[in-house]
């Protein structure tokens, strides 16, 4: 078996970044700057490598007669670029935390390791590689979540995250095992062709159970109901930049995995996978939004809102539940819509977390009421926060969010799943209620007496990062076609 090293170049770049970050920390101990710079350059190099390699057309490697396990193509390129950008954002937002005593070498090493998993995930083309890539993406995060030393919440968060993650991986693996037992295949292409001939399958019910288990297990990464309850305590206990990374990169990873598996491997079983995804999506958005209404802590509110957003991301795939939604054209539209929504979402979510970090520095997210008067103290940051929240609510001036909402409703109606479109629409109304509550607090007058709240220092990388993410949000709001094109590139085969 020959291995196409060029196809692996982006993954090498990401892994090398991790090693270099560690080595740099050994060479210049105790200094944050060099480590950060090296990691940032490495992430950027990963993005460039992925774009160059993937842009040349499909390169497959790790091939056996059953199929290839790894493919560098447009899909992997888009996925890797998004992961690299998210890592860059998380790095910029990490500066206050690193000033607060988090060890920079370990921190950057773990972040880059996670990036490696994300890059590999986009190129994975069999069930096992997908699971391994997802674990590589998640494993470093257990440690990162627990990095706030001497904070009980942080340790609790890490344990919660770890336990639920292990359970969900076991569920996914069980599902994959059942599929393998029924078909003798793990490669996507081969699985699809064996599954297509239903008469020849030993036990179709077993396959159904396998399909459902795989999807539910993967739903954990997206924080979809019923495996969503880990997200709020974990986000709240983790250092803020790690929570930002979890709610964007980790969620994006889950979305990519669900899409790869459903569309490439389970294509002939969409009549089973479709209803599962439709129910998951509807439950996820409704539960997330309703519980978010009652949250008093900022990060928990963002966490529950990101659960709800996971529901929106999965929603277009719910169109597969209807026969009309399984045609080739609608399938591509739905997949592109899910990818597009996920991309819109991660930018807006990253901006929201960036604003929280800029307002809070190296502490936790705190109570929502503690943000009173932020509009007066830090008008620019509050403005960026408002823009991000409006986008998450899907309303102008957050045009990016508006177009994201339009994209999924359009895909659902093209697929004939009008009921799910109505559920999405009504959920958007519930969502606005709590996003508005936060915005109203930001701009209500601050405490006049009492200790003068001192704004945390805002190091320049944080300011630049927040400005860049906000600007990116504005640009994709005015020119959403950029995202839609990228999503179509990723969806097309």
């Amino acid at each position: 078996m020959t291995i196409d090293q060029v196809a692996l170049l982006p993954a090498y770049a990401a892994a090398l970044t991790a090693v270099t970050a560690l080595v740099t920390d050994l060479l210049v101990p105790g200094r944050r700057g060099p480590v950060l710079v090296v990691t940032a350059l490495g992430s950027a190099a990963t993005a460039v490598a992925a774009w160059v390699v993937g842009g040349q057309g499909t390169r497959q490697t790790f091939c056996s007669p059953a199929g290839c396990s790894y493919a560098a193509d447009h899909t992997s390129a888009v996925v890797a670029v998004v992961f690299a950008l998210l890592t860059l954002g998380a790095l910029a937002f990490s500066v206050p935390a690193l000033r607060g005593g988090t060890p920079p070498g370990e921190y950057c090493f773990l972040l880059a390791c996670s990036l490696t998993g994300g890059v590999a995930l986009g190129a994975a083309r069999d069930l096992l590689t997908v699971v391994i890539a997802l674990e590589t993406l998640t494993l470093p995060l257990y440690a990162l979540v627990g990095l706030r030393r001497r904070v009980v919440a942080s340790a609790e968060a890490a344990v919660t995250f770890f336990v639920v993650s292990v359970v969900s991986t076991a569920v996914t693996l069980l599902g994959a095992a059942l599929l393998y037992a029924s078909t003798g295949a793990v490669h996507f292409g081969r699985l699809a062709s064996v599954l297509a001939d239903r008469g020849a399958l030993v036990s179709p019910p077993l396959v159904t159970v396998g399909v459902v288990l795989v999807l539910i297990g993967l739903g954990f990464k997206v924080a979809a109901v019923p495996l969503h309850a880990w997200a709020p305590p974990t986000y709240d206990g983790a250092p803020l930049p790690v929570a930002a990374y979890l709610s964007t990169a980790s969620k994006f990873g889950g979305v990519v995995a669900v899409l790869l598996v459903t569309v490439q491997a389970l294509r002939p079983w969409l009549d089973v996978a479709g209803p599962v995804l439709a129910v998951l999506a509807a439950l996820t958005m409704t539960v997330g939004n309703l519980v978010a209404l009652r949250q008093r802590r900022m990060v928990r509110l963002l966490a529950w809102s990101s659960v709800a957003q996971a529901g929106y991301i999965l929603a277009p795939l719910g169109a597969f539940a209807v026969a009309a939604g399984r045609s080739e054209a609608v399938l591509r539209l739905a997949v592109a819509a899910a990818v597009a929504y996920a991309v819109f979402f991660v930018f807006l979510e990253l901006a929201a977390f960036g604003a929280v970090i800029a307002l809070r520095g190296d502490t936790d997210g705190g109570e929502i009421s503690e943000y009173r008067g932020a509009g007066r103290r830090a008008p620019w940051v509050a403005g960026a926060f408002t823009l991000a929240l409006a986008g998450l609510a899907g309303l102008p001036p957050g045009l990016a969010g508006l177009f994201a909402k339009v994209t999924i409703v359009r895909a659902l109606l093209a697929g004939g799943a009008a009921w799910l479109a109505v559920v999405v629409a009504l959920n958007a109304v519930v969502g606005l209620a709590y996003y508005l509550r936060v915005v109203a607090v930001l701009f209500s007058p601050g405490p006049s007496d009492g200790p003068a709240t001192v704004a945390p220092p805002r190091p320049w990388p944080l300011a630049v990062g927040l400005a860049a993410v906000t600007l990116a949000g504005l640009v994709i709001g005015v020119a959403p076609q950029l995202v839609l094109d990228a999503a179509e590139l990723a969806a097309g085969r």
Partner: protein, 493 residues
């Protein structure tokens, strides 16, 4: 780009630029910011007047725009930047530009608590962009995008500059109207995905949409616009929002924001799904008449000045909706002139109510009285506006209501027409009761500033004159829209 297209763009770009300019000015130059915004509003008004000069519109379609601009924007979402004005939309465009100018000018003289008038002006201009965009959009998706732009700025206007219950009223306003606009989103894409185009010119007349899709789409669209208009029983956000909003906010809300609903129902609802409109017309007509009667009865029981005027809007918009529901050319004409008349007269009434509340520091009718003696000019204007609003022949309010009743009679809805006419008599009853309590009777206490300020005269004058001119020469509006309405009525029949 020819001059007409440049003017279309100017009506949207000028207020947008003005909003940025006003918001960007530092706090110590607040007045300069307000002046910049007012200049932009004035230029927008000039541009809207220049739109009036046009040649013979080409084309044979159901919509023949005087000026048209059609550029691609987001091909992935079937969204084109397609603008145009015709006889149906032009009067509303001009009214919007005029009312925004008057409100900005009024803000130069008086800024409601808590100050920061430049931001209020900026928000008013953003709202103007949204409303003008709705009236000018000839692309269904673009129409929806502009429809959404209005929501958050109006929320901010009410929530920041409003009365004591402002937070609650603002939240109610934004959640209710978002509920309407998400239904609009679903309705729009039901149409777009079935018809394969979002071009309003091509869609008007049904565009071969199957009956089932038309009924579904019309139900969604009619619900969406009924919330905005508002149609009884979906009106409950309106009294709170109008009562709590600052004077300029109430003027814009009642004067033009409600018209987005009636205009949308006529142009999008009836135009795109005529089958659905024919099917639902009796229900719409009955609800409209219910709104007229219930609005009138509720007004009789009101004890607060602004709340009474707000509820009177429910009744007046009932007449407009009754006109649209008849689906005849006469009815559509009645709706159009009723829209304009209501915008002019209710705008004036809210200006006057604001002035009275500012001077007397109360809006409760039992605590007001004797205005005729303490402030004769104010009392005279209030009497004039109230009489115009109750539909005295010779003033603007008469034509829309009379023709709506005539259209209902011709349609064969004799019972509805009789009840609607009785509802008009109710309007006379509650406005005369209002006048008796506020202007007549013993003077309870002296007013802070009995005389009218020059700025007040300047901002109210145009409305006073328009109410008389439209009453004497309704043809000024009717001739503009005659052709456009006839073309629309033909495709609907």
């Amino acid at each position: 780009m020819n001059s007409g297209q440049a003017l279309l763009v100017a009506t949207l770009a000028l207020p947008a630029v003005g909003a940025f300019a006003a918001a960007a000015v530092p706090a110590r130059l607040d007045r300069a910011g307000r002046i910049a915004g007012t200049v932009a509003a004035a230029l927008t008004f000039v541009a809207s007047l220049l739109l009036l000069s046009h040649g013979t519109p080409g084309g044979t379609g159901p919509i023949r725009p005087w000026h048209e601009l059609n550029q691609p924007w987001v091909p992935g979402l079937a969204l084109r930047f397609h603008l145009g004005v015709d006889g149906v939309s032009y009067p509303l465009v001009a009214l919007t530009a005029l009312l925004t100018l008057l409100c900005c000018g009024y803000t130069l003289w008086k800024v409601p608590e808590p100050g920061r008038g430049r931001l209020l002006v900026a928000l008013l201009l953003v709202i103007e962009v949204g409303i003008l965009g709705v009236f000018e959009a000839l692309d269904l998706v673009l129409f929806f995008v502009f429809f959404e732009i209005v929501l958050l700025p109006m929320y901010a206007v009410i929530a920041v500059w409003g009365g004591e219950e402002r937070r609650r009223a603002a939240r109610k306003f934004v959640l209710y109207t978002l509920f309407g606009s998400v239904l609009l989103l679903v309705g729009v894409f039901v149409v777009v995905s079935k018809a394969g185009t979002a071009d309003l010119i091509a869609l008007t007349g049904g565009a071969g949409l199957p009956r089932g899709a038309q009924l579904f789409a019309f139900t969604l669209l009619a619900l969406a616009f009924a919330v905005k208009s508002p149609l009884w029983p979906l009106h409950t956000w309106l009294p709170d929002a109008h009562t709590e909003a600052p004077t300029v906010g109430s003027v814009i809300l009642a004067g033009v924001l409600l018209k987005m609903g009636t205009y949308g129902l006529l142009r999008v609802g009836v135009g795109v799904a005529p089958e659905g409109a024919r099917w639902a017309a009796p229900v719409l007509g009955a609800l409209a008449v219910a709104a007229i009667v219930i609005g009138g009865l509720v007004c009789l029981a009101q004890t607060e000045l602004k709340r009474l005027i707000a509820y009177s809007s429910v009744g007046h918009m009932g007449f407009v909706l009754l006109g649209i529901a008849t689906l005849t050319a006469t009815g559509a004409q009645a709706a159009l002139i009723g829209n304009i008349a209501h915008g002019v007269i209710t705008g004036l009434l809210f200006f006057l109510a604001g002035a009275i509340k500012d001077r007397a520091h109360t809006g409760l009718l039992p605590e007001l009285g004797g205005l005729r003696e303490t402030a004769p000019a104010l009392a005279g204007l209030l009497g004039y506006a109230a009489i115009a609003s109750l539909g005295l022949p010779g003033l603007a309010g008469f034509w829309g209501e009379a023709f709506a009743v005539v259209a209902a009679l011709r349609r064969g809805w004799t019972g509805l027409a009789v009840v609607a006419a009785l509802g008009a008599a109710l309007a006379a009853a509650y406005f005369l009761r209002l006048l008796r309590q506020v202007t007549h009777g013993p003077a309870l206490k002296p007013l802070a500033q009995p005389r009218l300020a020059g700025a007040e005269l300047l901002s109210w004058g145009p409305l006073v004159v328009l109410a008389l001119v439209l009453g004497l020469v309704p043809a000024a509006v009717l001739n503009l829209s005659a052709d456009a309405v006839r073309a629309l009525a033909e495709v609907v029949r």
